[in-house]
Symmetry: C2
Subunit: 235 residues, 2 copies
């Protein structure tokens, strides 16, 4: 009676919001240390709870990591949306500025929060897979966020698609080049982020990194927006 079951207040034995508390703790672990630091027992310890208690809310460590992954993706989307909101116009210049700003926010997030970024794009082999029978288990964290497996059409992707649509409306993007334009843009930004983080560019100074980012975004933007005059085409 002191607190409702769904309320985050704790009543001594029952925590009341363990799932989110564990996700928070695990995310904090990933924040410093990356996906490797997401260790179930540590998260439980930080939450003041027994390790096996986590199994009431997650299928296991892999599932916990998956929750962290979606959490990290959400924060990444937050940053991108916030950056895009600075340029709300529909004219060509504003849309391009919005795209550029979102791209910079993407890479900036990767460099500011390397642990979360790495967790967001970490790979984990299917936990508790290859089962052909009962499914009355815990919801598995993936089904919490997206109805379809594998297709995390989350806010970041939608934001990118919207910007591309705006580019189309502004007449800067040729209609026949519209489909698939998100892929190129995303790939360039994601690639430079990864190379700066764990790749051959990891030793660059901040200034050099900024140059590399701007350069990559500029190049890709030019390639996407370039009017189709028909040249430099091989196969």
């Amino acid at each position: 009676m002191t607190d409702r079951p769904a309320a985050p207040g704790r009543s001594g034995y029952h925590h009341g919001d363990l799932r989110n508390a564990l996700t928070r703790a695990a995310t904090a672990l990933a924040r410093e240390g990356g996906p490797q630091a997401v260790v179930l027992r540590a998260a439980a310890r930080a939450t003041g709870v027994s390790p096996t208690a986590a199994y009431r809310h997650f299928r296991g460590q892999g599932d916990l990591l998956r929750a962290v992954k979606f959490e990290a993706l959400a924060r990444l989307a937050d940053r991108m949306e916030a950056a895009g909101a600075d340029h709300p116009g529909a004219d060509g210049e504003s849309v391009v500025a919005r795209l550029r700003s979102a791209g910079r926010a993407y890479v900036r997030f990767a460099l500011d929060e390397p642990g979360l970024f790495r967790a967001a794009f970490s790979h984990h082999p299917d936990p508790t897979a290859s089962m052909g029978g009962a499914r009355s288990e815990v919801p598995s964290a993936a089904e919490e966020f997206c109805p379809e497996a594998g297709a995390w059409d989350d806010r970041a992707f939608r934001l990118l698609s919207d910007v591309m649509d705006a580019l189309l409306d502004a007449g800067l993007l040729a209609p026949e080049r519209r489909p698939g334009a998100e892929v190129s843009a995303w790939a360039a930004v994601h690639g430079v982020a990864m190379l700066l983080l764990d790749g051959p560019l990891s030793h660059l100074s901040s200034a050099q990194a900024e140059t590399a980012i701007v350069r990559t975004v500029d190049d890709m933007l030019r390639g996407i927006l370039e009017a189709p005059s028909g040249e430099t085409h091989g196969t």
Copy 2:
């Protein structure tokens, strides 16, 4: 007397080539299972050797993983070089074909050998770091390959640089755009590979993936090669 100490033959007690044997075993582990599957004890077991024997040749598990990383990077470079050798010409068309071919080889490697590719770009916190004293330990695997820490100016990067130089010589790349051109190209290819592997494009069919790859490479190539007419520039 039956075999020389440096020869790979085994003499019962001393293995003779344990370091490479362990690296091979660990690489095989990474090949299926990615960096997470690189477990020291398993590699030792596969080599028929005690777990602690590995510590004579590696600083620990992280160091072993690092060796796998360099091995994977070397194999990636192999593929790129092999692909580039199909178009050896110095004329513009050949150079562009070479660049495109190398890029496709890059992504193809990522999709063919996801475990190795993930290991090649895996991140590990410095093992046995924050020590301020003696350094008479095992050479640490990183110093085996590159003299300078962090700067793995390996064959893949060199190949890309050479192609960019060739583009410059062929008159397809404006000289003021030469510096940093590798970054954009690499970022696009690496990004699309990662997105196809662990990102939002992981559920694409092979045909769709191929389309995405070609599209990304085309866009980036266009952006890099586009003659500097001075447009679509913000800041």
